[in-house]
């Protein structure tokens, strides 16, 4: 019991000290940093009309973003306050002109610039206060311990500690009492004051609206992709049925009609046609089977993603090592997307990498389905226009999944996919 209390008090004292130190560090950095960023930004933007600003503004604003991002990280690490950045992406090969105006059109930029003056004033004060609250009482104690003589002698009269006039040892003890009172307050407020600083930062710098807008944009895009893809898929299925199985069944019906007529007149010819009809039906079945495999592979329906991927690996002409760690099954659409993505990646690896071994790892941790496909081929795969990998990226995007490719020339290639999902 006493131990608990002691350790509790100890940790709260440590927490207080840490908050004060962090506040001090933040205050020391935020004031000059914010002033520098703000002045540079203003100057750079002001110089745009004469052209110099076009070149400098992207650099300066990138610096401002880095500064803001660093503060976002600190807010998350020290205060547990998440401030998601919501900058619009810029094309990497844009010229300075479009970079400058792209950045200036971004509301996040103006939020940064609005935040800088707030950070150098209110932000500075709220960061400094925790430190002051902890360090100022120390001065009170020092005065009581005898430091008052130095101050009183040098100022030649009264030294004010807070609202206590210090003139002799008695009033110095008064200063110490005030210090004690302040320390008592500090015990309650240091950590909270630092928290206030981070909240303030979030209030000015963060933008829930921007995040929402970004989310809406992404959703609109992926929805359009999903609709396009599924419409194309339906057209393909319709065409395959029409040209394949349907046509064969029609031919079979015609054969059967002829057989009916020939049965008595020419049994030999009828027998020949029966054989043909049987072949047609077998072909129609084979085509339907391929079609079904393309829509929803049977093993996937029967066994789920793990075994479906194993079955896929068995069919590959390249030796493939499969490692699956799944405790349940994901939702059917997610399973299907993951399966076809894996299938496409494997096909790519077999076709283009020149690898003679492939390693496939499939596991689920923390609400994230992770698949990595590694081959020992020659590398050089890129995600870009026209490549199959871009298609996979789109497919996964529908489920907020992402694709990462590491493929240096000379290999090896590693493709990693992540889809957020829960297992049941």
């Amino acid at each position: 019991m006493t131990n608990d209390k002691k350790s509790g008090r100890g940790s709260s004292a440590r927490g207080m000290g840490r908050a004060a130190l962090r506040g001090l560090a933040l205050a020391l950095v935020s004031l000059p940093g914010a002033v520098l960023c703000f002045v540079l930004s203003l100057v750079s933007i002001a110089l745009i009309p004469i052209g110099v600003g076009i070149v400098t503004t992207p650099w300066v604003l990138t610096g401002v973003r880095a500064f803001a991002d660093w503060r976002r990280v600190l807010a998350a690490e020290w205060g547990g306050v998440r401030i998601p950045p919501a900058y619009r992406p810029l094309p990497p090969d844009a010229n300075p002109w479009s970079r400058t105006f792209g950045m200036l059109r971004d509301p996040a930029t103006w939020r940064d610039l609005r935040w800088l003056p707030v950070d150098m004033t209110a932000g500075f004060v709220t960061a400094l206060l925790p430190a002051v609250l902890l360090l100022y009482p120390l001065e009170g104690f020092a005065i009581a311990a005898g430091l008052w003589r130095v101050f009183v002698d040098s100022t030649g009269g009264t030294y004010w500690y807070g609202f206590v006039p210090v003139t002799d040892q008695t009033s110095a003890f008064g200063a110490a009492a005030l210090g004690l009172g302040l320390l008592f307050c500090a015990h309650f407020f240091t950590a909270r004051l630092l928290q206030v600083h981070f909240r303030l930062t979030r209030a000015v710098l963060g933008s829930n609206q921007g995040e929402l807008a970004e989310r809406v944009r992404v959703l609109t895009e992926t929805r359009r992709d999903a609709v396009d893809t599924s419409a194309a898929e339906l057209r393909r299925i319709e065409r395959d049925l029409h040209d394949g199985a349907q046509a064969r069944l029609v031919a079979m019906g015609m054969d059967l009609g002829t057989i009916e007529m020939l049965l008595e007149k020419d049994p030999a010819k009828a027998k020949q046609l029966v054989a043909q009809a049987r072949r047609s039906s077998a072909d129609a079945l084979a085509e339907l089977r391929d079609l079904v495999r393309g829509i929803h592979p049977p093993v996937l329906a029967e066994r789920g993603l793990g075994d479906a991927v194993r079955a896929l690996a068995l069919r590959l002409p390249v030796a493939t090592e499969v490692n699956v760690e799944l405790t349940g099954r994901a939702e059917a659409p997610v399973e299907s997307a993951a399966y076809f993505a894996v299938s496409e990646v494997l096909t790519n690896a077999v076709k283009h990498s020149g690898a003679d071994r492939i390693w496939l790892d499939l596991h689920h941790t923390g609400d994230m389905l992770r698949v990595s496909v590694t081959d020992n081929g020659k590398g050089g795969a890129v995600v870009g226009a026209g490549s199959g990998l871009a298609g996979i990226e789109r497919r996964l995007g529908t489920f907020d999944g992402v694709l990462a490719v590491s493929s240096p020339a000379g290999g090896p290639t590693m493709v990693t996919m992540e889809i957020p999902c829960a297992l049941s």
Partner: protein, 217 residues
């Protein structure tokens, strides 16, 4: 010969019953769900079971699971699994215990009544009947990265395929329109190239071939 039949589609079940009856099989039971199949296999002790992979109530691979379970309880219970599609994964699971008496065929093979009934009989007798598609997948896969298979002549590959399906030398000879002695020579060559010991046992040689094909995975 008593058969337990499991197939959820009424038309196909009816057709299979009639087909098997036409070839003098006795239908001990024709069921449509997994639990019914398990019960029938446990109680009726049939000579052979003909089972659809996908059965209610789960409509997944319930039929296959029931068959594997029944074989665990009664090793060597002959089971012929039918499926709308063939997967090596399932073939491996069926062959895993190495005790023979298994078959795995596409449902399409039912079209050729005689071959199908032949397969049922082979399985009931403890032999093997693997679908040509399974064998082909295995062969093409192995041929890509295995030297011994690449050394086979096209004719020997053909013979190996038929052998792996579970056919006897006589049946292979008939199929390829050559003499049985020629086939015996081919098989001896195949065994030599694959490094397998020659044996008279039909079942063992198929298993040996399949075990070889499975090797290294």
């Amino acid at each position: 010969m008593r058969v337990v039949l499991a197939e959820d589609l009424f038309l196909l079940r009816d057709g299979l019953v009639r087909l098997l009856q036409a070839y003098d099989f006795e239908i001990a039971a024709a069921v449509e769900t997994g639990p019914e199949l398990s019960r029938a296999l446990a109680e009726l002790e049939p000579d052979v079971a003909v089972v659809d992979v996908r059965l209610p109530p789960t409509n997944t691979d319930e039929g296959l699971q029931c068959a594997l379970e029944a074989r665990r309880k009664r090793p060597g219970l002959p089971v012929l699994v039918l499926s709308q599609h063939v997967e090596q994964l399932y073939a491996r699971e069926l062959l895993a215990d190495g005790s023979g008496g298994v078959g795995y065929l596409l449902k399409d093979r039912v079209f050729d009544a005689e071959q199908f009934v032949d397969a049922v009989r082979r399985v009931a007798a403890g032999g093997t009947a693997m679908d040509p598609q399974v064998i082909q997948q295995l062969l093409s896969r192995r041929a890509a990265d295995d030297q011994p298979l690449a050394r086979l002549t096209p004719r020997e590959t053909e013979v190996l395929e038929l052998m792996a399906q579970g056919r006897s030398n006589a049946a292979i000879a008939e199929r390829l329109v050559v003499t049985e002695r020629a086939i015996a020579k081919h098989t001896a060559n195949i065994f030599a190239k694959l490094g397998l010991e020659v044996s008279d046992d039909d079942n063992r040689r198929v298993l040996a071939v399949l075990a070889y094909l499975n090797h290294g995975r």
